[in-house]
Amino acid sequence: MKADPRGVLTGVHFIDGDHACCEGALAAGARFAAGYPITPSTEVVERFASRVPTVGGTFIQMEDELAASITLQGAVWGGAKAFTVTSGPGFSLMMEHIGYAAMTETPCVFVDVQRGGPSTGLPTLPAQADMMQARWGSHGDYEVIALCPNSPQECFDLTIKAFNLAEEFRVPVMFMMDEVVGHMTEKVVIPSADEIEVVPRRHTRAPVDQYLPYGTNGDLVPEMAHAGEGYKFHVTGLTHDERGYPNMTPQTQDKLVRRLQQKIRDGADRITILEEDSLNDAEVVVVSYGITSRVAQRAIDLAREQGLRVGKLRLITAWPFPDRQISELAERVKAFVVPELNLGQMVREVARAVNGKARTFSVPHAGGSVHHPEEILRVIVEASR
């Protein structure tokens, strides 16, 4: 369905990624946010606090991230599209509730504007070192979706995509920005509402006495109901059966967590978004995401000027990881070069998917600034030998 025009700030804007993310959320239909201030993410909710009362919704600043990350889920079950925004230390605090969202299949968006870590780290400077945490940060077996924008425009467009995927798959979606993308100011074009597709809540149409909160009818994603509609359903973080009742047996556990995993893996083709360039004749492929992809582009251009056959694969969807695409590429390229603002996180996934069929080179960076294109170029040259 089309976006609600009340939330769409149609026009050409000159805003930073944080602000664009807020507008994306509003355009996607988000009418609730619970937040807690943390640099460099705070502007997202500051803008939301200012905008949402003029659109029709609620913002509340909670007392900590533990609260914010569950308050938004209460709002989802109360009928809203909701999200929260944070950075490293807050992301860590939110992990239990990301797991709760995955377990209860609560559609929502968690924005992480990554900064230097670990611990308090570098509050005002970039890193991309929460990528593994986005996938594995909570305990237990579960799958999430993670998207990585590399510009303020993408902070707008992909936030809408994040909400849409959350609703389609009833899963928490991690929106992995970084401090540079969040604080860089660029042109952002917001189209008219009728040009924006939003996915509505997957609401059940079953009569009250037939509704199974976690029943699936062959489709792996159950239909949802909201509190106050007469369904009188139960939601729990305990391992549960199709009625939503706790059922703590190995059989129920197996069925449940496999379905939680399968619904994402089966949907990979609808979830995976990649930007590809010159892969057909590439010998070396640079795999990157977020702000690093823009630095990498410069390195790729320089390498091509030198006559090297370098392709680009940008991870817009980082999780689920595009195993298939990387594996297929590995059949015919010599090497992968993976620059990241961390000491080597997504490169491990690349190497795993490559499975020895080609070489994999990491271009790590501890964070605090972006790579110099030369750093990446040097490794591309080495990989081409």
């Binding site: 009340r6 239909g29 009418r31 609730f32 619970a34 009362p53 003029t54 659109v55 029709g56 919704g57 609620t58 509340i60 909670m62 007392e63 900590d64 533990l66 609260a67 914010a68 569950i70 308050t71 938004l72 889920q73 209460g74 709002a75 989802v76 079950w77 109360g78 009928g79 809203a80 599209k81 909701a82 239990e96 509730h97 709760y100 509505p200 809540r201 909201h226 509190a227 106050g228 509609e229 007469g230 369904y231 009188k232 359903f233 139960h234 939601v235 729990t236 973080g237 305990l238 009742y245 706790p246």
Partner: protein, 286 residues
Amino acid sequence: MSDLVNPVEQFLRTDRMPHIWCPGCGIGTTVNCFARALIESKIDLDSLALVSGIGCTGRVAGYVKLDSFHTTHGRAIPFATGLKLANPKLNVVVYSGDGDLSAIGGNHLIHAARRNIDLKVICVNNLIYAMTGGQTAPTTPDHAITSTSPYGTCEPAFNLPHLVEAAGAVYVARWTTFHVRQLARSIAEAFRKKGFSFIEVISPCPTLYQRRNKLGDGLETMQYYKEKSKVKHGAPTSEVGLTMTGEIIVGKFVDRDRPDYQTMLRTQLAASLGERFVEQTETVCS
């Protein structure tokens, strides 16, 4: 309504009976009182949502036939806040235990009271972390034996009515599981109240707290409640602290009025924004 059926049955997920609570545990008793309050208040059950945390009392959510949410340890109150803010028409009850609400959940307890979020909080206080085997809670009386204080606790216990009153709650009452009629009445009163309402119910944990401290079984504990409780409506909450075998002051301690969070928010936004203020619509996410 048929007299032949126990009035609590209509609120129970009978397909989940029997429940997991021990013989002599008082949680089930509080559920009866809750059921009575629902009947007496004639509350539309479709508009009622119940949120619990983790612990023995937290299991109440799974046994009641309502829109119920069994959330994470200590976070029932913020979850309930989100529910209420997204759909102000809901009547939101938080039903959880003393450890869940005042230890790990303590921060959320005081902030929700400060904000005066329109929630009805039923805190079943059995003075212990029961579900996990009887560890010390912030409400465990001094010198009690628990599994994590095998030589006796040396911490003063929280006086919960005092804490929530200081934080800003508009309705504060305490009863024990002996005071079934008064408890039902208090819960019904809380339903009529707008704002953060807190009802503490002192309840036996015969398997862990009472047993380890040689205080008898459930029945003997109830007899202690009957004998040593004193009803003092309006008592200063600073004076209602509990000890292991001493007097238990019960009653309605606080019943005051101040605008609830959503009323204040709306008023403020409307005043600041004037015509630009847009009310949150009902179906916020179609």
